[in-house]
Subunit: 195 residues, 2 copies
DNA sequence: CGCGACGTTGATTTGCCTCAACGATTGTGG
DNA sequence: CCACAATCGTTGAGGCAAATCAACGTCGCG
């Protein structure tokens, strides 16, 4: 039981690790604390680390030509929020990742990830499975975006992620679901009247 | 050079295989031919295979409560179209995958994929990389959906996938981009007048 | 040939955006 | 510790992008 327990528990859902392997893995990790509003990823900079959220909440978003923000990803404890394109291909990032609260992150550098595959090859398996599950869940989001109205997407979000609904600010949820904060406000208002 | 060359070339972009390994891999593959309008995936049935398109075109789509079709994925030679959720988790599928043309597919069964990981562990790496790239590209689609207008999405699609624009029927493209065929028709009309 | 699949066009409607103004809350410097 | 600003959410009026509905032309195919 140590600072890295959350990640080790997560990984253990996909592969079994010996005590030695756990120690080796932990040796490649680092804990970092970030303050609310601090960035872990910024456009133009190559994303050097995966950040597993041990405590706190993060948000990934882009800013379009009209200055509108669009939330690409949201996450709390147990999730990773990252510009995968940038990290995987080691190219400059195209969007921001920002802390919504003071947070504790467990970071694995790109270099150490490559080292990890050499030292303990079964981690390829672990990250294959998580990447596949991740792809599947993003595909779900595409389906929601193209097939549901704003109100339906809000309903789905509210029932799928009640915890996020409480903790994440409205503007982040609205831009995640693809509409404006004003419209979100109207949806909520409408719901209240119904019940 | 044989029937499986397209897949082997694809895989070789990510990992190096010896001749023995190529032979072993090929032993786990099968070629199937499907006719236009034939399904390779259907709701309620667990998706048992990955299908690499050697020749032809495929389309994944769902039908919503109002009977409207929504295209989730499109693919031609060199792509895979699948219900990843169903395949990865071995759960019943939630949408259809259908041939848009008479097609030749190279299939790898779920069982054989697991076997492959035991026989040649570096395939974990290959599928990790493809899954990560897949996740990154679906994430791009989410960004387009939430940040661009219908017309802009059509423009982006047309310039990114000129080949698909020629080969894929309009109704499939429209429902892929998240609008109606009528509206797509109007966008095209407008473009013609401009030039 | 005749039917079904596919695309087009026009009239009307609507879901959601834009803009603007206004409380409530949080944070910050004097 | 208060004043003032910034952040965040709400409300309303008006506008536009895209949907809906309906009718029609065209092609390919059984």
């Amino acid at each position: 039981m140590n600072e890295f327990t959350p990640v080790i528990d997560f990984v253990s859902r996909f592969i079994n690790l010996t005590d030695d392997e756990v120690e080796c893995f932990a040796g490649l990790l680092r804990t970092v604390k970030v303050k609310k509003r601090q960035f872990t990823v910024q456009p133009e900079f190559v994303c050097q680390h995966m950040h597993f959220i041990a405590e706190g909440a993060m948000r990934g978003y882009m800013v379009d030509g009209d200055g509108n923000e669009h939330t690409i990803a949201l996450g709390i404890e147990g999730w990773c929020v990252n510009d995968y394109n940038s990290y995987v291909l080691q190219e400059p990032a195209t969007f921001f990742v920002e802390a919504l609260e003071d947070s504790t992150l467990i970071q694995l550098s790109y270099k150490n990830e490559q080292l990890l595959y050499q030292l303990i090859p079964k981690f390829e398996r672990c990250f294959r499975i998580t990447a596949q599950m991740n792809a599947a869940s993003i595909q779900q989001r595409v389906i929601s975006n193209i097939s549901m109205t704003a109100e339906e997407r809000y309903e789905e979000f509210a029932s799928s992620y009640p915890k996020l609904l409480q903790r994440i600010p409205q503007y982040a949820i609205a831009s995640y679901l693809g509409f404006t904060t004003e419209y979100l406000s109207k949806i909520r208002n409408k719901k209240l009247k119904k019940s």
